[in-house]
């Protein structure tokens, strides 16, 4: 019988099966940031095992609170920095070169089809966009990953999501994934991988596929996975051209990770997204999703554009297209955080930063920023934020604050009018 992408990756990486169904996998990548790694480092030191399994497979970045805002976050950054230097982890990104982990690591070409990736961050599922198995884990799994290069998983079953039709103008990957989460529910994919198929995914850029896979966790999914194709190869080509005689050869190699036609799925969901409208969340769970047109007129105090979901160059272009030649409402604070220095530079070169500034946005350095209310852009009690991030939990951006998740274009439209707005009506 055929295999899903996740089943192929599990089979190729199986190190041990101590009990039936408990799969210990060899890891190709262990990604680290300054919030969840320091406790692992401290525990390894305390155990007298301050070692790393393979410094070339470990990548580290300071992204959640950067530059440090106080002594505590300075200590977290220092612990990660000292550890990276101590173990000769060359791919470590500090202030000035750092960006949001799930944007900068793919941008550097670290993720390849068929890879196993863990990180102490729930949105690690983003990297499944490359046809990899990438899962968010806690600090203990991270610690064992750093020390031994392995991680244990229950072999996940796979839900296949077929996205057919053609997206309307102004409807993007963020709208699609919000819709899918609304259909699945916040635990509809727990212990499952979501495999995305169909012409809508095939037509998506890598940026869009990362947006799609980024939010698999919001349905409880272990990983979202797209099938590697020529779009994947084109993205990775600068990093892999030494390895292959041609792009076709790379595609042939990567295609072996594609799911077999007779693979077994727990369920198959078919969505024709031709009629899909821009989507937005209400309430405090990411599966509380409506069409933007049903929420039009809802007041917002802050607009946040950025994050591992929507801080990439295409996202900024989509927002800038709406903002161009316009000013944001006096009642709104607009904040944009390009996700990496490279994206920031591209946005500068393309005049996008100028558009944001002319519109009245505050442009911050690359960081996770306002998304989780632990550095800048925190909401006051009773305030509302239109955000391109991935979580609308109660208090997520600050105690007593409310977050509405939406696409970059929808967020830009809300900034202009001060209320939730369908960008297509501006």
């Amino acid at each position: 019988m055929g295999q899903t992408t996740a089943e192929k990756i599990f089979a190729a990486h199986l190190r041990d099966e101590p009990f039936p169904g408990a799969k210990v996998l060899n890891l190709d990548r262990v990604f680290c940031h300054e919030i969840t790694t320091p406790v692992a480092i401290a525990d390894l030191e305390w155990r007298g095992k301050d070692r790393v399994f393979d410094a070339s497979k470990i990548k580290a970045v300071i992204d959640h609170v950067t530059p440090a805002k106080d002594s505590k976050t300075a200590l977290q950054a220092k612990m990660l920095r000292d550890w990276a230097h101590r173990h000769n982890i060359k791919d470590f990104f500090d202030v000035g070169r750092n960006g949001v982990c799930h944007a900068i690591f793919p941008e550097k070409g670290y993720v390849r089809p068929g890879f196993t990736v863990i990180m102490g961050d729930s949105h690690t599922c983003t990297h499944g966009a490359f046809g990899a198995f990438a899962a968010g884990v806690g600090t203990t799994d991270l610690e064992v990953g750093i020390l031994k290069g392995v991680c244990a998983f229950r072999e996940p079953t796979t839900i296949r999501v077929n996205l057919t039709g053609t997206l309307q103008q102004g409807v993007v990957a963020k709208d699609v994934i919000l819709f899918v989460i609304g259909q699945l529910g916040v635990n509809g994919a727990t212990d499952r991988v979501i495999e995305f198929h169909g012409p809508v995914v095939e037509a998506m850029s890598m940026d869009a596929r990362m947006t799609l896979c980024n939010m698999a966790i919001e349905a409880g999914g272990t990983c979202g996975i797209c099938q590697p194709d020529m779009t994947t190869v084109d993205y990775l080509w600068p990093f892999v051209q030494e390895e292959f005689a041609s792009k076709e050869a790379a595609l042939a190699e990567y295609s072996r990770w594609c799911a077999d036609a007779d693979a077994n799925y727990e369920k198959v969901l078919n969505f024709d997204v031709s009629v899909l409208e821009p989507q937005v969340t209400y309430g405090f769970k990411p599966d509380c999703v409506k069409a933007v047109k049903e929420m039009v007129g809802t007041r917002v105090d802050q607009v946040y554009i950025g994050t591992c979901t929507n801080g990439r160059i295409e996202d900024l272009r989509q927002a800038a297209e709406v903002l161009k030649g316009r000013r944001i409402a006096d009642s709104v604070r607009g904040i944009v955080s390009p996700a990496t220095p490279k994206i920031f530079q591209e946005a500068l070169n393309e005049g996008i930063i100028q558009i944001f500034m002319d519109a009245g946005f505050c442009v911050t350095n690359p960081t996770c920023g306002a998304c989780l209310g632990m550095s800048n852009g925190v909401l006051a009690e009773g305030e509302v934020c239109a955000s391109t991030s991935n979580r609308n939990f109660n208090g997520r951006m600050g105690k007593g604050g409310m977050v509405h998740l939406m696409s970059p274009a929808s967020a830009a439209a809300a900034a202009i009018t001060g209320v939730i707005t369908d960008a297509r009506t501006l």
């Binding site: 009990f19 729930s122 690690t124 632990m374 979580r391």
Partner: protein, 178 residues
Amino acid sequence: MKKTFGGPAIFLDRSDINTDEIIPAKYLTEVTKEALKPYCLEDLKLEGFDPKGEELKQARVVVTRANFGCGSSREHAPWVFEVNNIHTIIAESYARIFRQNMFNCGMLAIELSPADIQKLFDLEEAAAGKIEIEVHLDRQEVVANTGAGAETFRFEISPFDKALVQAGGWVDYADARY
């Protein structure tokens, strides 16, 4: 280090309690588990629940509904329970990362059927909140003791998760084996 399980239980009557409610992100700047202690469930808004109250302070077990611990991968969520001596959670289901983090720390994330969870909530109501849970990992049973008597519930746990709990967590287990 091996943990002890069971004791007075606190009941949280809602599904989808997320990691931001268990430990808000602003406390993730701490680099020791102990520092998290005062902030357990700080952002959980639930009728009759006080995160600073005596009931939580006395609790050694949490009983709740479905999809507990959804959201972030932060192990700070299990840790904030650990440093408050809550080593046992009993729920209908968990988010994957939270569940794994519990076992990885050598703690118990016990799953019972929705009917059994409802029975526990009913027992708690009848006993006006005075309920103690015994955990027998060897025979995979939890016993709910109220003034009116005791009721036993059998639970399933994978042999791997059980081995992690018995080893005191994943680091010790993996270090001995890989």
